[in-house]
């Protein structure tokens, strides 16, 4: 029994790692309908940039974090301005946008590979101590921080979307982009907002995961896929759904590994997606069109 609770706890943490990244991806996709596959690239770039600043350059945690956040936003916006917008002006279809996004992530991830080497690296400078115990279930300080910060981030995102004017504009755009433009929503500005916010959201998970388990060049692609799956399972445009879906996927993956080998974790995530596509294509919180 204890082992099941531990697995659920691990899954809970995993879910909260996916959640902010999924929200970022969801924001971008629901407002622009652009499949920003390179979202995972912002995630992995943030992780590696933080590593480079915090470890070899030995800057303070705060300074490294701030620089990384700014860089992430610049990168996200940059990809939009340099790749997506020009393509869209020329009338590119969503498929073309997806392809270009994949191209970006492959190209830049390989640059990272070239610069840092293919092996995993550790970020944490702290000593190794036993985690905190909650009735037989162990969680490290880092794991608890991941959950705490992710909850804060998701809460902040939700509040901003629900109660601010910009948030309303975002909701309008995700509901109906054409109508939103007609009633005066500046789609270009909202694009910039969601790309910035979405990219900023990945920094905290990237840094915390790096400190907890280390970074490796494969983290980018995997994270994009998880975020995309969470958004679709949760229901496009329903950010709370993306959070629920993230938690669900995280927990099912970890529980699933109890019965099958760890290499099937990605398969489990896709299995969930497939099940939803077949039985509930609008996602957890979506409505039938």
């Amino acid at each position: 029994m204890e082992i099941l609770i531990q697995l659920i706890a691990n899954g809970f943490v995993a879910g909260w790692i996916y959640a902010p990244v999924a929200i970022g991806f969801g924001l971008i996709y629901s407002t622009t309908r652009d499949f920003h596959f390179a979202h995972g690239l912002v995630y992995i770039s943030a992780a590696y940039l933080f590593y480079a600043l915090y470890v070899p350059a030995n800057l303070s945690f705060l300074l490294s974090f701030v620089i990384t956040s700014v860089a992430a936003v610049v990168l996200g916006l940059g990809i939009d301005y340099v790749i997506y917008r020009p393509l869209k002006k020329q009338g590119a279809t969503p498929f073309i946008i997806l392809l270009s996004s994949i191209g970006v992530i492959i190209f830049l991830e390989n640059l990272i590979l070239l610069a840092f080497g293919p092996e995993r690296m550790a970020l944490s400078k702290a000593d190794i101590t036993e985690g905190y115990q909650f009735g037989g279930v162990y969680m490290t300080k880092m794991q608890l921080l991941i959950v705490a910060f992710s909850i804060l981030l998701c809460l902040a995102a939700w509040l901003l979307i629900k109660y601010t004017k910009t948030g309303r504009a975002i909701r309008a755009m995700s509901n109906d982009p054409e109508m939103a433009q007609i009633i005066g929503v500046s789609t270009n500005m909202i694009r910039a907002v969601v790309f910035s916010a979405g990219s900023a959201l990945v920094v905290v998970p990237a840094v915390l995961v790096g400190l907890d388990t280390g970074i490796s060049p494969q983290m980018g692609m995997t994270m994009t896929v998880m975020a995309a799956v969470a958004v679709f399972v949760g229901g496009v445009g329903h950010l709370i759904g993306a959070v629920f879906a993230s938690l669900m996927i995280g927990m099912i993956q970890n529980l699933g590994v109890f019965y099958v080998e760890a290499k099937w974790q990605d398969l489990i995530a896709f299995g969930i997606l497939l099940a939803f596509i077949i039985f509930r294509p609008m996602g957890l919180l979506g409505h039938r069109a």
């Binding site: 691990n10 115990q133 388990t213 490796s216 109890f258």
Partner: protein, 377 residues
Amino acid sequence: MFGKTMRLASILVCAFFIAAAVYDLDASAQQVYKLGAVLPFTGSASFFGKNTRQGSDMAVGEVNAAGGINGVKLEVVYEDSKTEPKEAVTAMNKLVSIDKVPAVMTILTGVSRAIIPIGEKSKVVVMTSAMLPGITEGYKYAFRNATSYDNHVPAMVDFITADLKMKRLAIMMAQSEWADRALALYKSLFPKKGGEIVSVETFQEEAETDFRTQLTKIKASKPEALFVEGFKAVPVIIKQATEMGIKAQVLGSHTLESPDVLKIAKTAVEGAYYTKTAFDPNSPDKIMQDYQKKYKERYGETSEVYAATHYDQVKLLALAIKNKGYSGDAVREYLLTVKDFPGVSGVTTFLPNGDVNKIVDIWTIKDGKYNLYRLAK
């Protein structure tokens, strides 16, 4: 028109044959003797790539400083296997067809298994230091000059039951062929000594960073000892095991000597025991002392066993070329006659199946340092 075209064609054909003959003539006057090496310079086993190269470079330097092989210089052509059998195959094909080497040195089970058949087909000797038992069985051109799990596992089993007097063992290994074989050995030997394997978990070396799910299952099985084997993931696993409150005795193999292990696992790996090919850098033996002195002068560090193994391999292969000839068959013939070669990595005799029998010591990590705990029994 028949005449003109035919004349042109026959001139071209003649030119072709002349060129081929000249080229062949050139090749038979050997300018340099080449050996191949397919080593992991990148990838999770890059620790081994660096060290083996240092060992073989030093040996090549010594051979050439002593006048080369019958006056001809020796050169090793290095190719990066990237810890990937697929890449290794490309590298091997290049060494065989383009560099036309008579022998290739390598390490790692997956890589060795991929290139040994190529060597067999092309009559090129492959000398490996991989740990998979039986890796040379059935292949005329495959040789191994290192310990295998056939040596490590019995030594560890004996250590756990007789020295530590522990009965409950959990095993966490990277998914691979050698893991299957090592596991099979554990399963057959450990119960015989009165022990019980309480859980077995595997992981994907390259893809995973979070091993807590497997560790959760291991923790639930209440082991007294935990054996971890892989490459770069090992210190991360040990770190996470400690964070999860697993109190079992940590055990491993010489992968615990990789430089980042102490950096990543820090105090978590304190007190761990591991098996290591009998190789004492501090041995008063003259051969070892001379070797370590030269190695330290050249590289500024102490040589571990795999650098020494490849140092020996180059020396052995150079002797083979010198005494028998520059071809796979000649090298092979010579190697089978090698008996009690005073290698730095241990006295070496090749068995008829190309394998060797070397012994394994038990080492430990104390106060952040690697110490010999007990010599092989």
